[in-house]
């Protein structure tokens, strides 16, 4: 088996277009996860015990079961109750919720890393709970959370190929299609691997740089 450069060139535009979709899926999924994850995290800090308990259980359940199964579940269960979701919508819900569970833990860790004295100082100058979170706690919870948030951004990106199981037209799906049509799997799958490698390595570096920058901007050495 030899590498076919002509074939590579021929399928390259298709693969790059699909890479765009992969990045889009990762970005959208992450945006959903970032917001819902914050809700999960804050729900576990309310004085309402029952809300804390339920959220904790939901997070645990999501983290304990495979993403691929969750994607199937969301995609196929809807129609049983008359709710037809497109592959994109189902995929975004599944991957967004999955990573929301992980991000909520990152947020929680960040918030808990803020010393108790900071909360007390906020009481002493009489800030409201909202003001305390917005102005004092979240800005300090952010830098320690960036590394974790960045890792999950890369992780969500690497999990997007799983969306191909319900037919989301991302990179893996494109490789499957191209490979199936031409009975050549070497080039498409290897190209997918290389594209993933390049993007994850670059983004890992970018995240480290970003973390250092934020710390400096906030004056925390």
């Amino acid at each position: 088996m030899k590498w076919d450069f002509a074939f590579t060139a021929e399928i390259l535009p298709k693969m790059l277009w699909a890479t765009g979709n992969t990045l889009l899926a990762a970005g959208m999924g992450y945006a959903i996860a970032a917001v819902i994850g914050l809700l999960f995290a804050l729900a576990q800090r309310t004085p309402l015990r029952i809300l804390t308990y339920i959220t904790r259980e939901i997070v645990e359940f999501i983290r304990s079961t495979p993403l691929v199964l969750q994607i199937f579940f969301v995609y196929y269960v809807g129609p049983e109750y008359g709710l037809y979701l497109s592959p994109w919508v189902a995929g975004m819900i599944a991957i967004g919720l999955h990573y929301a569970a992980y991000l909520s833990e990152v947020y929680r860790g960040g918030i808990e890393s803020v010393p108790k004295g900071q909360w007390e100082a906020c009481t002493a100058i009489n800030l409201t709970t909202m003001q305390t979170y917005r102005r004092i706690v979240l800005p300090q919870a952010l830098p320690p959370a960036i590394a974790g948030m960045g890792n999950y951004l890369v992780a969500i990106f690497k999990d997007t190929p799983i969306l191909s199981v319900i037919g989301v037209a991302e990179l893996m799906q494109a490789a499957n299609a191209v490979g199936g049509q031409n009975y050549r799997y070497l080039e498409p799958y290897t190209m997918v691997g290389v594209i993933f490698l390049v993007i994850s390595l670059t983004s890992a570096r970018a995240i480290r740089w970003f973390e250092a920058t934020v710390r400096r901007k906030l004056g925390m050495q």
Binding site: G117, Q118, E120, A121, I125, L127, R135, L218, G219, M220
Partner: protein
């Protein structure tokens, strides 16, 4: 068990209303009683210092007054009005969050470990409360903050983040931050304990200024007996969750009546 609160007045009346009154205040963690039946009045412009061995409940007194700790019995009044409780249908009930927030606005506090906001500069630390809580314009808040930073001698470092400041400098900024809220009562919780010996003076000098020039009502917990003696109107010696002895610094330090006070003072003197 709920305490019968009907015997507590809704508001303090008569002449000479104290700025702060602890009335039969009790604080416990489970079975451990930290403060038992505390009665303590602090007059306006009075400087009261609390001394005592560790675990005697002295820091808890300040934290209760700042509403950082809830109390298990009794009522605290500030400026004649209940702090920990609010009137409802003619009796006192435990205060809700909204009432507490309003009531504690007359109290300011400085902490042992400063607790400055690390992501804000010195002046931003001092402006945050006035802008967000008091609703001052940024300009007014800045003027007020600069005035106070001049007073504590930190104006030339106003744009530094706390990580760039020494402990003594951080504590002085923290004092300015608390004063910017224009509290009626200031609390100092072991503000020199975390400092290197050579910078303690710069903080105690600021507090001395507050006492002698500005006549604020203050309550302070400290381990520095000499400082307490110099600036206090009254010193309270706490032991085992109770006031063992109190009096003017001259009386208490030179002629302590209680055996425990004598032991404590001689132990402290021996350590110096």
């Amino acid at each position: 068990m709920m305490e019968d609160l009907s015997s507590y007045p809704l508001e303090l009346g008569g002449p000479n209303i104290p700025m702060v009154r602890f009335m039969k205040v009790r604080k416990s963690y489970g079975d451990l009683i930290v403060l038992d039946n505390l009665n303590l009045d602090i007059a306006a412009s009075e400087m009261v210092t609390i001394i005592g061995p560790s675990g005697s409940g002295k820091t808890t007194v300040l934290r209760m007054l700042m509403t950082l700790e809830t109390i298990n019995g009794g009522v605290i009044y500030v400026d004649g009005k209940p702090l920990t409780h609010m009137p409802q249908n003619g009796v006192l009930v435990p205060a809700d969050a909204r009432y507490l927030r309003k009531a504690r606005s007359s109290i300011g506090m400085c902490f042992q470990h400063f607790n400055l906001f690390p992501h804000m500069t010195a002046i931003q630390n001092c402006m945050e409360g006035p802008v967000l809580v008091l609703g001052l314009s940024r300009r007014e808040a800045q003027e007020r903050a600069e005035e106070l930073l001049v007073m504590v001698g930190m104006i030339d470092k106003k744009d530094q983040h706390p990580s760039r400041l020494s402990g003594g400098q951080q504590q002085r900024v923290a004092i300015a931050r608390a004063l910017a809220m224009r509290p009626k009562v200031m609390l100092f919780d072991e503000v020199t304990s975390a400092l290197d010996p050579e910078v303690i003076g710069e903080v105690t000098n600021v507090i001395k200024d507050l006492v002698f020039k500005h006549r604020l009502t203050m309550l302070m917990v400290t381990h520095q007996m000499g400082f307490a003696r110099d600036i206090s109107d009254r010193v309270c010696f706490f032991y085992g969750g109770k006031i063992e002895e109190q009096g003017s610094p001259a009386e208490l330090f030179s002629n302590p009546k209680s055996k425990r006070t004598q032991q404590f003072l001689s132990a402290v003197k021996a350590a110096d």
